[in-house]
Structure formats: C-alpha cells, structure tokens
Subunit: 254 residues, 2 copies
DNA sequence: CGACTTCTTGAGGAGACTCAAGGGTGGTGG
DNA sequence: CCACCACCCTTGAGTCTCCTCAAGAAGTCG
C-alpha cells in the first residue's frame, strides 16, 4: 500500500491520526486483489463474508429480488470499507459488484479484532463510519419512500457529489459517474425507462445533466429543493474518543 | 436498573457475557427518564445528540419531509439502543418519538468512549449491532424500492415478528403492535388509505390480520413469499472477537 | 461485422394517491 | 356523568405517476 490516504480512507474525517495510527491501519490491510468491470466481489448468500478496503474504482452493493430485479444499496468509492454489514450474519446479505476496474485490499475479521484490542480510538472511529452509513441509508429510505422520481434522482446526485467533494476537498461542477440509466434505476427504485425521462426533465429544468457518464450540476440549491432532505454535517470534535493516540494505547495495554 | 437483560439488550446475541461484562454495561447506563405516548425524545436538527437504551415501551425513528410527510425508519423495542447514528453528526438526523409509555436510560458519549477503552470485546459487539442495523435498513430499502404495497407490509410484519420472537425466545402467532395505519404508512412509504386497503387484502388472502393493534400471523411462509426478501441469520461464532472472559472459558471447558 | 448493451421514444395500463365523507372510539373537561 | 373533540378506521370516486411492452437508433466489444 503505497499511499497513506488509501488506508486512512474515511476514518480521517472523525479525528487526527498519528503516524502510529496509520501504521496500525497499514498492518490491517491485507493483500490486494483486482476485478474487472462487472465482476462480483461476492454474491448474496456466500458464506463467511470478508471485508474489503476499496483502493481503486467504483463498486455497488445490492440486494436481488426473486423476480430478478435488483435494489442497489449504495455506490462505493475509493476509501470505503466494503462488506462490514456482512460480519454480523452467517451469509453475505448483499452482492458486491465492480462498476469499473477495481482494486481492493482484503481485510480479515481477525485483523478487525486486533484493531479493537490494540487501538480503541481507531475502532471507535470505525464505529462512527458505520453510524454515518446508517444515516446515509436512512436518507435513502426517506428519499425512495417519500419523494417522486425527480426527487430520488436529485438525492442520488447530491450524495454522489457530496462524497466526491469530500475526497477532492473542493466542489466541482462536473464529475465522472460510471452508472448506466438502468443502474440509476436500481439505486432509486425506478425503471430504466423512467430514469431516462426524469433525467430529461432535470436537464429541461436547467438543474443538472447526466450524459455519457458525466454529471454536471448547474444548480445545487435547486437539487436540494427537489431532494427535500437536508445536507448532513459530520461531527468532527469527538472529545469522547479520548486523548492523544499514544496515551490511549498505553492505558489500554495495562 | 434491576434486570441484567435490560442492559444486555441486543448485544448478547453475538457472544456470551460474563458477570464483569454485565457490570461494565450497568456502569454505562445512565439515569432513567420517562416519556408519554406521543412525546418526542428528540427532534430532527437538535444539537449534541445523546444515546438512549430503551428499557420499556416502543419508539420510532423518523425523518420529516418538507411537505410535512414523515418517513419512519424503524420501530424500536426494549433492549434497542437509540440515537447511535446521531453520534457521527452535528445535529440529530432523526426524530425519535414514543409510540407508547416509554422508559429510557440516558447514555453519555463519554461512557461509550470508556467502553471502547476498557472493554474492546463489548465494543466490538456494539459494532456488530450497528452492522445488523445496517442490514435491517438495506432490507427495508429493497422492500420499499422494489416491492408493491402488500410486499412492504408483509416485510414490516416479518421484521416486527422476528424482533419479538428473538426477545421472547419462541415464535408466537399473535402480538401487540401499537401502530396506527397512518404510522404503518409512514414506515412503508404508503398512505394510510392504501394501508387500510392492503391490510384487507392480507386478511382476505388468509395470510395475516392486523386489527386493534394486534397482529395475527396465519401463514408465515406466505408472508415471506409476499415480502420477497429472505430471513437473515445472525452469525454468533465470532472467533475474531478474541477470547471470552476467563471464567467463561472455564465454564465452556467443563 | 455481428452481438450485446445502452439510450430513446411511444402507447396503454395499473397501482397508489388525493379528496371527500361517515362512523367509531377514547380522552378530556365541564 | 355527559358532551365534545381529536384521532382513527373505512369506503368511494377520480386522477396521476410510474410501469409494461415494444421497437428502433446508437454505441461498444470481441
């Protein structure tokens, strides 16, 4: 793993990490594995789920319905941890699929156990990442349960935009989003046909376009109005996480 | 807190707890507080969220839409931890409301910090509870995004039933569920009127009735077929959690 | 070049919503 | 103890969003 940012992933949002912390994270990250576009990292029902750190590319996680339809849960980008929800269950609850060329680092459950024992502060940050994911799903649920097609797609675009903005450290007006209209439908609970018509409506309203896998946002406040769900601000001052890393580890060791 | 089970809550599903573990949990649980039916434990947007252990009664967590509609995220029962997702954010992402008379124990974030420091094994179990909640939300998302009204209500009933079955330790054919048809609509993304018609359809199919706040299940496999999402089995053999407390291992050896 | 996926548009249908009204029930206050 | 109010359940009628089915065009990969 050449780059610190790759192992830090999204944990860094919740507090400063010392050089030691980064070393701990590097020790946890296991061997790399490559996937082609369309490959399944794992399939719903697979036994003994593992975890993955997404290093390069995009993936999505989805649940398959008996009639062959698919509900996509979320799109993952580099820095995300994949497969954590599966830890609590005997079988993998979701199907993880590569949306592009993908590189992941495989993380063993035993490494996670070590992390909880040796670095309670980082473990707590991992806990917070999971809480963030829960709120993400709550917003998704509200969007799909209580807004119309245009609101759902607006919400999806805002969530992608927020994630990309965080990674880059600045807002950009357009970004690459390798999703077909069918996949947008899987994410929003719509059909590909209706996604097509709704994207045309978004363009006509001069709020946003999504053409040839490129999203261009013309009017963020307009998107927010359509989505109907407020932007969430991460809490970054977690006093309860404890003091500086070194301190914590010595206490924990005794 | 008179009863061990009250503090153990749902953590116990993931591994044995020693008497010491239970003491740690008791130390974390703070003062009790009572609420009447309809009271808000907290409102969306409130600052500095706390956590609560639900001791008695039912609550629900919901997101409010600009037009006044409500998307209920989930119904909580005794033993559930409320408010964890809010830890990661500046403001409370959800509104927590008492569906019945309610008693909670208030948990300070600093207590959670202590837990991660002193009891990594319990902290990891708490982490697993959060993963379980994520999968719960994923199933909800698939249900609302990809099934019809009857499927959504079937799924809701199955999830309530599974939760109650776990608490009681055995399946029962009927249970008390203090939700109005309007609240069922908030949970499933439907209107109260359509919930009414769909419940009639469920009764007519002789699968299930829900009258006067009492759910009676006549045909569980039938409900599963309608819901279209498989039952999930919790993983209980978490070797990676590390060793159980010493005296427990000795018990196991005998 | 052929097979496949993706995008696009049209036409018709269905599930869920909206609006409306009546009756039942429980809680509250006079 | 009764009257009143608020909430909940139920049913009807009409509407609209989104789905289904279909077919053609455009792009992509082997």
């Amino acid at each position: 793993m050449e780059n610190d940012d790759e192992v830090i992933g999204r944990i860094g949002a919740f507090g400063e990490l010392s050089a030691e912390d980064v070393d701990v994270l590097k020790a946890i990250a296991g061997p790399l594995r490559h996937f082609k576009r369309g490959d399944l990292l794992r399939h719903e029902g697979d036994a003994q789920p593992k975890m993955y750190l997404l290093v390069r590319g995009w993936t999505d996680s989805s649940i398959l319905m008996p009639d062959g339809e698919r509900q996509s849960i979320k799109v993952h980008m580099p820095g995300d941890l994949l497969g954590m929800p599966g830890l609590a269950f005997k079988k993998s609850p979701d199907t993880i699929r590569a949306l592009t060329e993908v590189v992941v680092s495989i993380i063993e459950p035993s490494s996670l156990g070590d992390l909880f024992m040796m670095s309670p502060r980082i473990a707590a940050m991992l806990f917070l990442v999971s809480q963030e994911e829960r709120v993400f799903l709550m917003d998704r649920l509200a969007s799909i349960g209580r807004t119309s097609a245009i609101g759902r797609i607006a919400m999806l675009i805002l969530q992608l935009d927020a994630r990309i903005t965080r990674t880059r450290g600045q807002q950009i007006e357009g970004f690459f989003a390798p999703l077909s209209q069918g996949q947008i439908g899987d994410l929003t609970g719509l059909t590909a046909v209706h996604v097509n018509r709704t994207l045309q409506k978004l363009a006509q309203l001069q709020v946003c376009t999504w053409r040839d896998r490129v999203v261009t946002i013309a009017d963020r406040p307009g998107l927010r109005d359509l989505a109907g769900i407020p932007a969430r601000e991460l809490a970054t001052d977690h006093f309860w996480l404890g003091d500086a890393p070194r301190h914590l580890r010595m206490q924990a060791a005794t």
